[in-house]
Structure formats: C-alpha cells, structure tokens
Symmetry: C2
Subunit: 215 residues, 2 copies
C-alpha cells in the first residue's frame, strides 16, 4: 500500500493510526499542504483525488480517498484487530462518534476554510483563532457529554479496545491542544486520549513522529 | 422507529430517502430548527442528541445520531435492498462519495455556521450566499469529475441501483438549487439526480413533500 500523507493533516493522522493498529506498513509519499502552492493541488495528485485533499491510499488497483472510508476499507480487508464492534447498534455508536468529529468539527476548521476566512472575508488572526476554537469546543463539549454518560464507553470510546472513534478523537485532541483550547472541560476525552497515546499504534502516528515533520 | 426530522434538513432528508428505500415507515417528530429558538436546542432533545443536530432515529432501546451512521445501521439491520455494494473497494467508493458531501460540503454550509458568519463575523447577506455557493461548487465540481470519469458510475452514483452516495447527493443538489447555484457544470450529477428523483423513495423524501413543510 502507498499512503499520500502530510504530518499535520488530521485526516492522514487518523489513517496512520488505523494502519498501525492493523500492523500495515505502507510506503509513504509526503504531500506538503503549503509548499509549492499546496502539493495536493498538483495535476498529478488531483487525478487520484479530485477533492485535492489528503490522504489518499493506493492498494493495488484501488485508489481510496476520504479517511473514514479508508479506515472502513482497512477494517473489511484486514479484520484483525477490529475497529468496529460486532453489533449494529455498537457500530452505529462508533460511527456517530467518528462522524461527529469528521463532519462537524474538522472540516469547518480545515486549512481551506481558514484561508477563505482570511483571504476573502478579511478576518484577522484573532477572529480566525476564535473561530477555530469555537467549533472545536462546541464539538468536544457534545462528545464529552456522550462519552461521560453512555454506558458503552470503556477504557476507549467504545469498550476496552480502540475503534474508528478513537482514530478520530486523538487527532482532533491534538489540533485542540495545538490551538491552545482549554482542555479542562473534557476530562473523559483526556482520559481516553491518554489511554490511546499509551499505545505505540497511536504514538507512532503522531505528527511529530513523522518523517516529514516540521517544527 | 421514530425519526426526529425537519423538512429542510438535508441530513434528515438523507435518512428519509434511506428509510423509504428500505420500506420502513417511521413515526415522525418534527423538530423545527428556527422556531422556539431552535427546537433542537431544547433540553429534551439535547438529552438524546448532545450535538443538538437533526436527525435522531429511535429504534427500540437505541438512540441513533449522525445521518451516515443511521443509514449504515439501517442497511445492516434491514439488508434489502442493499445501500452499499458487496465488495470492499465498492463500499469504499460509495462511502467516499457520501463523505465528500457529508464532511466537505454540507457542514461548512450548515445553519449554525451561516449564523456565526452573520452574527459574529458580521458578514452581509451577499457574502454569506457567496460562501454558501463556493463550498457547494467546489465540492460538486470534484464529485462531477469523479462520477463522469470512474467506470463504476452507472445509472446511479455506483452501478444501477441507489446507494448511500445517492442518499447524500440528492439533498445536496436540492440545497444547490435552493441557493441558485449554476448547475450547468454538473451534467453527470444532474443525470443521476433525475434518475433518483424518478423513484418514489426519493421523491417522497423531498422537503416539499413533508408534513412539516413551509413555503
């Protein structure tokens, strides 16, 4: 397999965690999101990924995009260890936690949206950072409420083994810390984050551990 | 089953299509997104759905949120007709098309984001509508490129039967038309939309057909 990745992309980070959990070591191709006007906008990359977003995973003849679709694919083609629970209701719960991050936090704070705020709407740095934190805090607040109260929560988001939900939670927590979000309101999320990061699969996927990392 | 829905919510619209395709008639509870300061923000609704977003589906003891997680659940618990293809690569393709809408178009144009633009960033009506169309056009452009070129595209997004991808495409096309997006650049999307809307499952799910519809 070949993964087109960028150290700081939280969508790529999710897929790196999943690959590590599955014990798959892909070839890595670094796609720098700001160098050369954004390498994800090159004609070559765009042919694979018309959305011009990272990551892309190549598996033989298959070109896969969208991190959650990639992780579900990895889970179907490499079933052990499973990243979704066996029961339909549990699967729905894990997917809903993952989607609450992947749909309702991350895209609103993505690089291209922040650029639109600055370049088109002429928003200043402080207002841009307030926006960034606002959507994270709104989203993490709802997740904390769920994870603190629902009986399915265990050591991890769902039970005592990592799932798709944890693959999404940890990169989002990383982004929150990077932008100095106050993490005190999220004790359950912090506890689960620590459980995850104690595992090499999560730790090795962290942005600062990547070969293309910059300070 | 009981569906908390709002006629104009495109996430609820996706689930209505899926329920219709499965032949499931749920009890409906109308959750008006702007009346009473937003009925999705009531304490009662929030207990079910801490994200305070529509839809929510109740199935017996299970409370389900996030439209894509709900549709996958319906597909697992009511397998006929299938809304995902049988092969892992096909499933990944359908999910990636669905997520390209559900993550990368819809949330950026959601009611709460538009409100932030107006109320916090003091963006005027014209700039708000430009934002709305910008993200739709960017997203639909990438989808058109994929659907026009990939051999898996058939009468519908994937082959000749509707899938999860079509459940997402049709509501997004509805939103694009509502905000007067020029649809000429998307002939493949328009063709698939027409195929879908010729089916009662899609037509009956349309906003204007709902009991809570307003002009």
């Amino acid at each position: 397999m070949k993964l087109f990745t960028y150290f700081r992309s939280s969508s790529a980070y999710r897929v790196r965690i999943a690959l590590n959990l599955k014990g798959i070591v892909p070839e890595e191709q670094y796609t720098h999101l700001t160098r050369d006007g954004g390498q994800q906008h090159s004609a070559e990359y765009r042919r694979m990924n018309p959305q011009e977003l990272v990551p892309t995973l190549i598996d033989g003849e298959h070109t896969l995009t969208q991190s959650l679709a990639i992780i579900e694919y990895l889970d179907e083609t490499h079933p052990e260890p499973p990243l979704l629970p066996p029961d339909a209701a549990g699967r729905a719960r894990v997917r809903s936690l993952a989607l609450a991050i992947a749909c309702d936090i991350h895209p609103i704070d993505n690089l291209r949206v922040l650029r639109y705020l600055v370049r088109v709407l002429k928003v200043d740095e402080e207002a841009k950072n307030t926006w960034y934190r606002y959507w994270i805090e709104l989203g993490l607040g709802a997740l904390e409420m769920r994870l603190a109260s629902e009986r399915e929560t265990g050591r991890f988001c769902h039970g005592d083994a990592p799932t798709l939900a944890d693959c999404c939670l940890v990169p989002q927590m990383f982004n929150a810390r990077r932008f100095a979000v106050d993490m005190a309101p999220y004790p359950t999320l912090q506890r689960i984050e620590a459980e995850c990061n104690a595992l090499p699969a999560f730790d090795d996927a962290a942005p600062e551990r990547q070969a293309d990392a910059e300070s």
